[in-house]
């Protein structure tokens, strides 16, 4: 009699479900920092060009304890939040209008697409002429930079709302205002949020550029200042804060998205 063979069938797609423990991501960042520190300690790159993480933290601490960082950070925060809020609100409102009204669409959409590709920072000198050199031009340039991507995303979000939902709402008695409020706005929200996230990056970019061109306080002004003095540790501390600000912004939007779009 032949010996019986036993062939176990194994899951050949196990790699699709492979679990990676959380510390792997942390290890990645820690590894990079250690490598960076080593490169500096071994003097492979002179500290003026690339200061060590430890040196950045030491000088960063100095910036914090002297209150300098806080002052600059708050100046930047006000500008970016103010500009972002104004740009986002107007972007959403105008986007809804253009999406819903065929007439408004026909009149304004070509204008929007003509202005959209202009790098907004090129308008800063003009805006300074209009508003002077106070806070207004910085807020305005950020608002402008946020307005367009939010508007265009809102517009396409409105266009992507399933017509059957609009028909259903009208069938059950909705007037135009309620169709916009209860169907089109929530239906467009996911796309609007994509625009808001995109605009967050633009806002940060414009904030720093504007502050480098014309500002006394602000993280951008601070980074430029220490660059001119060749104090790279403090420069890098400023850059770090910007990265933190960006991260914070993104997390804030994600949190808002979870709250506003619970049905996804």
């Amino acid at each position: 009699m032949e010996p019986t063979t036993k062939k176990v069938i194994k899951n050949r797609v196990a790699f699709l479900e492979k679990q990676i423990p959380g510390y792997v991501s942390v290890a990645g960042i820690v590894g990079l920092l250690v490598l960076w520190e080593l490169v500096c300690r071994l003097n492979i790159v002179p500290p003026l060009f690339l200061p060590a993480p430890s040196a950045i933290i030491m000088d960063g601490w100095q910036l914090i304890s002297s209150g300098e960082l806080f002052k600059n950070f708050m100046a930047s925060l006000y500008r970016i939040l103010g500009g972002y809020a104004i740009g986002a609100v107007f972007g959403i409102l105008v986007g809804l209008m253009l999406g819903f009204s065929k007439r408004a669409d026909a009149i304004f959409t070509p204008i929007v697409y003509a202005i959209y590709p202009i790098p907004k920072i090129a308008l800063l000198p003009l805006i300074i002429l209009w508003f002077g050199i106070g806070e207004m031009p910085k807020v305005a340039i950020i608002a402008l930079g946020v307005f367009f991507p939010v508007l265009i995303n809102t517009f396409s979000g409105v266009k992507s709302v399933d017509p059957i939902l609009i028909k259903a709402a009208v069938t059950f008695g909705s007037n135009h205002v309620n169709v916009i409020r209860k169907v089109i706005l929530p239906g467009a929200l996911p796309t609007i949020f994509a625009g808001l996230k995109l605009a967050a990056g633009t806002a940060l970019l414009l904030l720093v550029s504007a502050e480098m061109i014309a500002a006394q306080y602000g993280i951008g002004a601070m980074v430029l200042h220490y660059g001119n003095l060749m104090i790279t540790t403090k420069l890098m501390a400023g850059v770090l804060i910007l990265s933190l600000l960006g991260l914070l912004f993104n997390r804030g939007l994600q949190w808002l998205e979870r709250i506003l779009i619970p049905w996804k």
Binding site: A168, G173, S174
Partner: protein, 257 residues
Amino acid sequence: MRIVIDNVEKRFGDAKKKEVTALKNINFSIEEQEFVVLVGPSGCGKSTLLNIVGGLLSPSQGEVYFEGKQDKDPTLGIVFQEIALLPWRTVYQNVIYGLEERGASKKECQEIGQHYIDMVGLTGFEKAYPKQLSGGMKQRAGIARALAVEPDLLLMDEPFSALDAQTRTIMQEELLTIWNRTKLSTLYVTHNIQEAVYLADRVIVLSRHPGEIKEIIKIDLPRMGRDQEKYRQQFERYSDQIWNLIRHDAQAAIKEA
């Protein structure tokens, strides 16, 4: 109130500027508390007709009107094939949508909404989002939403065609029970002949190219329990009669697509 579909015709302009007549010479009425089923092969324009009756499409000719003594505007409730629940609203919020738009008070919404949620068997799912429900449960919510406005005419556009066969059978039975409690005038579209015979007081058979009424068949069986053994023969006879009317068109429809 009775609903009259008076000489309705619908033409569509197609891509090559050629006019296609989707519906022609459509004349019938839906009496109070009558359940009328439109049946026909795909492409016969039955959904188009339902959309016209539901005010979602204008006819090229003719009109649809309510006839009765009441002065108020008639309300319509539509159950969509695509279900069309708002994804951002919970079951309860979806069901009371029509009441809300009509300006009903919170308390009224609560009472009526709960009544119909219970009726369709969604008790306990009030706070769920549509995404969290199965197809059958979603359509129950769709039905509850249409019933909640207590419409003068209930329109159902292949409401169960997206469901699997077993769920479908159960839903048909439940619909009949619900209908027996509410007795709403109903226009129901389906391509399923058994479904038509099972539910209808009258079946309107449509033909294709152009969509015209081929025949109106009165189903002379008691409303409830038509699936019982003793009615089997009559049931089969009605089904065969309708199938023979449709068969030729249905075959042509397959070749076209």
